[in-house]
């Protein structure tokens, strides 16, 4: 029989621990495929965050470091400057990157650190059970804003891609969605571009992926995809926010 689809060898055979309908699996696959397609096997180091992707070091088939909560860009900085020929990527969620790790991501971007950051924005703390994230939408319910996020009480959601695009350091910043196949294809292209920029020494590259969390959103996987397409994309418009030639 002809093989029409094969798992990339840059993912291990370890079964993913993610919930049904969660898009982390898609994001992992896209990143791993990009690493394979760009021929980076043998020179790539990944950094796992604290959050749902804390076990990412079990899944990416390359050298990996597990970072403290929010510190992945700092860890990536240490790795990249020690072995500059390595391709270094950090994989972070919204609590990790946009809350506790805000200083690290902003300064890695401002330095123009030649690393690639994949940012999973699902607007919730998944691993700890559904608390409000810095990217939780206004009106969206979470266990720490049970009546829905109220700007007066809980502050406003943060648009990371737009914010980082104001800096001079980054070479590439894009926001994509994992809600349907056409968008997943676009996300793959963005991830490839981000890694290419690092390979060419252009500096900091960043891809934000709008993702689902059916478990903590209390939605079916299909409804969760609709939530990304409608609500999340309205708050977080898709597109390329910075691209240095």
């Amino acid at each position: 029989m002809a093989v029409v689809f094969k798992k990339t060898e840059m993912l291990t055979d370890t079964p993913l621990h993610y919930c049904p309908g969660c898009t982390h699996g898609i994001a992992h696959r896209l990143v791993a495929e990009a690493i394979e397609e760009l021929g980076l096997k043998g020179r790539v180091v990944g950094i796992a965050p604290v959050g749902c992707a804390v076990f990412a070091y079990k899944y990416f088939n390359c050298d990996m470091q597990e970072a403290a909560h929010g510190r992945a860009p700092a860890v990536a900085t240490g790795i990249k400057l020690t072995n500059p020929d390595n391709i270094v990527f950090a994989y972070q969620g919204d609590g990790d990157l946009a809350s506790i790790g805000m200083a690290e991501i902003v300064h890695a971007a401002a330095r123009g650190m030649n690393i690639t950051v994949i940012f999973i924005n699902n607007a919730i703390y998944g691993m700890t059970g559904g608390q409000m994230a810095p990217t939780t939408l206004l009106g969206q319910k979470a266990t720490t804003c049970p009546a829905g996020r109220d700007a007066k009480l809980n502050g406003n959601p943060i648009r990371m891609s737009e914010m980082l695009a104001t800096l001079d350091g980054p070479s590439y910043i894009a926001r994509c969605s994992l809600a349907d196949v056409p968008n997943i294809r676009k996300a793959k292209k963005a991830i490839l571009q981000a890694f290419k920029n690092q390979m060419e020494g252009k500096g900091f590259s960043f891809v934000e992926l709008l993702s689902t969390c059916p478990t903590n959103w209390h939605m079916s996987p299909v409804k969760a995809l609709d939530f990304v397409k409608n609500e999340m994309t309205a708050q977080y418009p898709l597109g390329v926010f910075k691209e240095v030639e």
């Binding site: 291990t12 096997k41 043998g42 020179r43 790539v44 180091v45 950094i47 804390v54 076990f55 070091y57 088939n61 390359c62 050298d63 990996m64 470091q65 597990e66 970072a67 403290a68 510190r71 700092a74 860890v75 990536a76 900085t77 240490g78 790795i79 400057l81 020690t82 072995n83 020929d85 390595n86 391709i87 200083a103 690290e104 902003v106 300064h107």
Partner: protein, 353 residues
């Protein structure tokens, strides 16, 4: 080539680290250790290394984590409030079994405290200031030359045991200028290989994972025991101390770091006045030189001890733990950035001892 130079403590530490193989430094400005990052910023690029002024103390220690995990000889430095901020990172570094060097030029506290010399971070350094069970190799040098000698070999020790080595200095040691002999540059080609480091070649069974997460209790318990074996091994082999005029001593003054130099002068003054005083100075604060102090506690000539420190009674606790009530242990201190003189110690000894 070894060379003789007049150097400030902080700068001597930076140069000794580089000669000992340091090629990555991340730090954040804080008094009284700013000469270390300043020196590193121009000196490291000369030897093909990397200096980075981190956005925070927290980022700095995590950059060190990344570099050390990638096989680099990485260092950070700070002073008390900054070292408090690094504690989470230090715990992760210990959990992930990474070698690195951390300098703490201690200032007075608590809180923002002051910028003058103090020893109030003793408990934090030797008992573990971060979360979980871990230890570091902690040195308390008393002179600029001793800083150089200890820092020069600190990476070798860190890599031997795969743990952080901390230099617990103080503001005085950082700012004082003394003549030092600088050892020759170590050749990185002679450094031990690190098969565990994430250098990018890993794939499949050869993957290297730098990690401190053990979600299964039995696995973490095994890890705790594995680490403890390393710490026991370190205690067995790395304990360093100095004794001065203790053979016939009736009074043992004990102190570490720069305070021990002041105490040494006090011993000389007391001897000149006919008091049989001696000095016991730990060079390693962890491991604490228990056996040597135990012998002094058992020595028949010794009638009592005075523990001298620039904190409110931290070091004295370890002294008492070893002496175990066999001889009286008196306590003399200054804090807040104040430093006692040799005469102050003599006066205390004559009045209280």
């Amino acid at each position: 080539m070894a060379e003789r130079k007049l150097m400030k403590g902080n700068e001597a530490i930076a140069e000794a680290a580089i000669r000992g193989g340091c090629r990555f430094y991340a730090g954040y400005p804080i008094t009284p250790q700013n000469e270390i990052p300043e020196y590193m910023s121009w000196r490291l690029p000369q030897v093909g290394g990397h200096f980075i002024q981190a956005e925070s103390e927290i980022a700095a220690i995590n950059m060190v984590y990344g570099s050390a995990g990638a096989g680099g000889r990485a260092m950070t430095s700070s002073s008390s409030p900054g070292v408090s901020l690094k504690q989470e990172g230090i715990s992760y570094i210990c959990g992930a079994e990474l070698p690195c060097v951390i300098i703490n030029m201690v200032r007075s506290g608590p809180g923002l405290g002051g910028i003058q010399p103090a020893q109030g971070d003793y408990f934090q350094a030797v008992k573990g200031g971060g979360h979980g069970d871990y230890r570091m190799l902690v040195y308390g040098p008393c002179s600029v030359q001793e800083c150089v000698d200890l820092v020069y070999n600190a990476f070798d020790k860190a890599e031997k045991y795969r743990l952080p080595v901390m230099i617990l200095g103080d503001g005085m040691l950082g700012q004082i200028m003394e003549a030092v002999t600088l050892p020759e540059m170590k050749d990185p080609a002679t450094f031990p290989k690190k098969p565990w480091a994430t250098t990018g070649e890993g794939f499949g069974k050869t993957r290297r994972i730098v990690n401190s997460l053990y979600i299964v209790p039995d696995e973490l318990e095994d890890m705790n025991h594995k680490l403890q074996k390393v710490y026991d091994d370190m205690c067995e082999n790395e304990t360093v101390f100095e004794e001065y005029l203790t053979e016939d001593a009736e009074l043992i003054i004990t102190a570490y770091g720069t305070v021990a130099r002041i105490a040494k002068s006090a011993v000389d003054l007391l001897r000149a006045q006919g008091v049989k005083a001696g000095l016991f100075r730990p060079v390693t604060l962890y491991p604490f030189p228990k056996d040597a102090l135990d012998k002094l506690a058992a020595q028949s000539s010794v009638k009592e001890f005075i523990a001298v420190e620039l904190s409110m009674g931290q070091y004295v606790e370890d002294v008492k733990l070893v002496v175990e009530g066999r001889k009286p242990v008196k306590f003399f201190n200054r804090t807040g950035g104040n430093v006692m003189s040799p005469e102050d110690i003599v006066e205390f000894a004559k009045k209280e001892a």
